[in-house]
Subunit: 393 residues, 2 copies
């Protein structure tokens, strides 16, 4: 889709600014009125994604806890819960604090509380929302958490962070069991179960290859859960799955909860991994775009956009694409600009035109913006705050 | 430098939080107290960089207008001006608005005002700070600016954005002269001169190669300035130069103003281009770091940090490095984490250790943070707001 505007916006800026500040935009604001670069989400696409994943998890008898690191938005977390999710994940304690302020009552923080201030903040948050789940990979860290919980006169719900991939966590099998045995001795910790996030498996290209990688990663987690229960240590909960593996983990006995996040928006990185139906992963709609303006037109075969590295994640080896216009090839052109090489239909693009970019990687793109414009066709339905933008502590 | 902390922070979080909120940190807060990832700037290094560039520009008889897209911080812009800078550059109108709110009275916006809202905002800003300079590359856009200025009963100061690189601007020579002749016919525009930013030259590796690339780019700009004046069109001002070319443009007759930004912080990307004295560009201090914590220690030869793609720019083909600890090799490990491969001395790193990363690319890193901690050794001297963080419209 392409929007001609230049001087043709519907409303003067003073009025747009007032509407944006008030949030009263429904029926009043068009995307042609928006300053660019602007982060946009298609309401129909987002809603379909929320509902499809919720229905899927329900059909498989698994709990759904969408990862808030993708959206960082209280409104989206609440909509997921309204559709059936049990709560939210947060990557960091500062993100969890924001979700709690936004009314989310059940939060799993998916990285460990290392450092005095993290432990203190976690205890404070647990006093506010008792259904806070923390992850642990280290015995001393568990002891520190227990001591802090003791001082605050509460019990912290914890899970083993199991290392089933290339990143964090305690090793499966004996090390995990030893850590669990340590935790159950600590009176102010309550062991809920296991978190096992197979990050490396989530982007394996090809569904069959992804199944293989994911099974190899996750079966030791399921096995560890069984071993714990065989030792009389209750382990009712095992949280895993990403957008790439939601429909693989959902068929593994012993995984009780799915924690995908990117499915809400999708991105080129997930599109390319392939799905059950072919080489393009299209189980969920690409609801997220960055609206951008052609800010310079140096010649017939190129256009310069106002969206560069500060407007869209640039960590992937492939760039954003322009939605709906053949003959356009985007490349980053520094922090403030993007460059479009134009051919065929793309040659019609002019100075002032407004285009939508489908971005390469959703999570770090969303984290660049303070707000997201919720669109339905040309209309702006709402403006939502990215409440936890920048909350990486 | 390396900081052991874990549970050893000096102060409880409630106190740290209170100090950070009040800004009253001098003599009270250590970097061990800071939540991580934290953006830090060494005060001595920053101050030396501010003063060195100001003294250099003065010695060469050039005006200095540091680019605010690098720091986005009112306090830093004010310190540059106190040291002798004539004002600030801003990449976008929303960034300029913030600098004006921060008391900066002379601002050059280095990208053109394309789109109705940009023109309206620019006119509004010019009413607030008369020493606002806008750039133009298109005749219709100039006419639109003139019409808006007419309606607001003011005159806008504009400069030709000259395309001396791979991005924006009108071509040198005849097209630029035609645009200038159009502008001087417009009663509500005042032509100040030329902006010529040779972005491609700024990162050419090797000082001699950089001189050659920069001369090839900038000599047509100087020539265009002379041609305008030969036609009786006054062109007293020519703004150029980056951190990579400040000491090249400074010796080109006809360039009146330097607009570098990254020199305030430096980054690995600039270090690697080489300087007058050798293969490492070290004219300015690497004042910027990201403080990070070892949040997971899966085995003896690796450590997982709490700083990933959301904590540091990842657009360059080389990763951040750990300051002062040999035997550490950082790689991004997703949005929330970094991975350190450890050898030799690096093997001593433990869970909870706090390390400083020297980052690959300063501008988009700074843009990820709401605040920057100003440090002197272990002490936190101040906390400055990144006022224009996210202002990319």
């Amino acid at each position: 889709m392409r929007y001609h505007s230049g001087m043709s916006s519907l409303r003067p800026w003073s009025e747009v600014e007032r509407l944006l500040a008030s949030g009263d935009v429904h029926g009043k604001l068009s995307i042609d009125d928006l300053p660019t670069p602007a982060l946009c989400v298609d309401l129909d696409g987002l809603t379909a994604n929320i509902n499809k994943m919720a229905a899927f998890a329900k059909s498989k008898g698994r709990a759904l806890r969408p990862h808030g690191k993708s959206h960082k938005c209280g409104e989206i977390a609440r909509r997921c819960i309204a559709a059936g999710a049990v709560g939210a994940c947060a990557a960091k304690i500062s993100e969890a604090e924001v979700f709690a302020q936004q009314g989310i009552e059940s939060i799993l923080v998916t990285t460990a509380m290392v450092g005095r201030y993290r432990i203190e903040r976690a205890v404070k948050l647990a006093a506010l929302i008792p259904d806070l789940i923390l992850v642990v990979e280290d015995a001393q860290n568990a002891t520190d958490l227990n001591d802090a919980a003791h001082a605050a006169k509460l019990t912290l719900s914890v899970a083993l962070d199991l290392n089933v991939s290339y990143r964090t966590g305690v090793a499966s099998g004996a090390p995990a069991i030893a850590l669990a045995e340590h935790i159950v001795q600590l009176p102010h910790l309550s062991l809920k179960g296991i978190q096992a996030y197979a990050g490396h498996a989530s982007h394996v290209v090809g569904f069959d290859a992804r199944i293989a990688a994911n099974h190899q990663a996750m079966l030791p987690a399921v096995e560890t859960r069984r071993a714990l229960e065989a030792k009389g240590i209750p382990c009712p909960w095992l949280s895993g799955a990403s957008t790439g593996t939601y429909n693989i983990d959902s068929d593994i006995d012993g995984i009780t909860e799915l924690q995908p996040g990117s499915y809400l928006f999708m991105d080129l990185d997930y599109n390319r991994i392939g799905g059950t139906s072919g080489t393009v992963y299209d189980d969920f709609a690409n609801s997220l775009t960055v609206l951008t303006t052609v800010n310079s037109k140096p010649n017939a075969h190129s256009a310069i956009l106002d969206a560069g590295i500060k407007a869209s994640a640039s960590d992937r080896p492939f760039p954003p694409i322009v939605k709906g216009i053949p003959g356009t090839a985007y490349s980053f052109s520094g922090d403030e600009h993007g460059s479009l090489a134009l051919e065929g239909e793309g040659r019609a693009i002019q100075l002032g035109d407004r285009l939508e970019l489908v971005i390469a990687h959703c999570d770090p793109t969303v984290n660049l913006y303070d707000r997201i414009f919720v669109t339905s066709g040309q209309q702006v339905e709402a403006v939502w705050t990215i409440d936890a933008r920048g909350k990486i502590e």
